[in-house]
């Protein structure tokens, strides 16, 4: 195995959950490099990560989850990583499944592998409202791209170099997951879903509160519809 893998952990005020997440990732992927993107946390997220000996990208101002993850993609592109994986800093994503996602990409028949909690049908299935929203997005992605992704809000994803290059320039700013799937699909990246058992978050709070849900739905739908009107810009490597 000579390919290089970067695990991107976006973290905003996750000092409590971070050590567990990093230990979990290390236990399952000892050869992968880990970089924590500290999205201008108020707590000791950056120093906690540094003490654990992983790379830290410290954002000087809060960019939100999309901007933070994109920083990881830009770093992966600059450092020529073959694969990049997003694992959230709150402990919902099981590191044991990272290998499954990477295997799908190494097989060469996919550019993006998404961990789906619904294909597995087991583990944490999220709240009713969120599942309802995910259902709407499923219809949305089917209508806009002709493809159905069962868990388009899942942030647990692996990307190959071509997808990293694309997303380093185009990853959406806030609530990026759904829009990114539609945009990747529109640009003919091959997306596969892999069944994954999610857990409940181990600490911190979701960026999506009840009050923001309506804004979230409308923003994501608008952005997704507009993203298929944009010219395709897939690059060849």
């Amino acid at each position: 195995m000579t390919d290089r893998v970067l695990i991107i952990i976006p973290a905003h005020n996750e000092e409590t959950a971070l050590p567990g997440v990093i230990a979990d990732v290390r236990a399952h992927q000892p050869d992968a490099d880990i970089v924590v993107v500290d999205d201008a946390s108020m707590d000791d997220t950056a120093r906690t990560a540094e003490r654990l000996g992983v790379g830290v990208l410290r954002l000087p101002l809060n960019l939100g989850i999309g901007g933070a993850v994109q920083t990881g993609f830009r770093f992966a592109r600059e450092m020529n990583y073959d694969y990049a994986l997003q694992v959230d800093g709150d402990g919902q994503h099981p590191a044991a499944a990272i290998g499954d996602l990477l295997e799908r990409l190494r097989a060469g028949d996919a550019d993006v592998a998404i961990g789906s909690r619904f294909l597995a049908g087991a583990g944490f299935q999220s709240t009713f409202l969120r599942r309802l929203g995910i259902g709407v997005f499923r219809v949305l992605s089917r209508v806009t791209t002709g493809r159905s992704v069962t868990d388009s809000t899942s942030g647990f994803r692996a990307y190959n170099a071509a997808a990293i290059h694309f997303l380093a320039d185009t990853y959406p700013s806030d609530y990026p997951e759904v829009e990114a799937v539609i945009s990747l699909s529109h640009n003919r990246f091959r997306i596969v879903e892999v069944p994954v058992e999610m857990r409940e978050r181990q600490g911190g709070r979701s960026s999506i509160t009840v009050g923001r849900s309506a804004y979230y739905m409308i923003k994501v739908m608008l952005a997704s519809l507009i993203s298929i009107l944009k010219p395709t810009r897939r690059r060849s490597l």
Binding site: L57, L63, G67
Partner: protein, 127 residues
């Protein structure tokens, strides 16, 4: 026909309008001179001030224009134009703010990446 008093009042308003417009132009020039306003954003303000001066001096042209456009009440044309150009100007600002937000994001991301690579080269001293 306008009475003598009315035409004197009109004349006063004309003078006030011209003075205000000239002050607006002077203010914009001063802002540019002090480096607080970039030239590219000042153009529209100069244009607005000139239009203002024009209709202050030849105020019946506003009425003629309104009549040609089928607007019975001339000041309504003024309000219409103000709203139209105001909206265009606000959209322009939204575009500028969006661009600045994007550039700001890029800078923050590059800074984070550079910071990591610099710390790798010269680690901070142990506490």
């Amino acid at each position: 026909m306008e009475s003598a008093l009315e035409s004197v009042q009109t004349f006063h308003i004309q003078i006030i309008s011209v003075v205000v417009s000239v002050l607006l132009i002077a203010g914009i020039v001063e802002l540019i001179r002090r480096g607080k306003l970039r030239e590219e954003y000042s153009l529209i303000w100069f244009a607005a001030a000139l239009v203002f001066v024009y209709f202050s001096i030849w105020r019946h042209h506003m009425e003629v224009l309104a009549q040609r456009m089928g607007i019975a009440y001339a000041p309504a044309l003024l309000i219409l134009l103000t709203i139209f150009f105001g909206s265009v100007w606000l959209i322009h600002f939204s575009v500028v703010v969006s661009r600045l937000t994007d550039e700001n994001k890029r800078l923050a991301q590059e800074l984070a990446i550079l910071g990591t690579r610099v710390r790798d080269l010269t680690p901070p001293p142990e506490e």
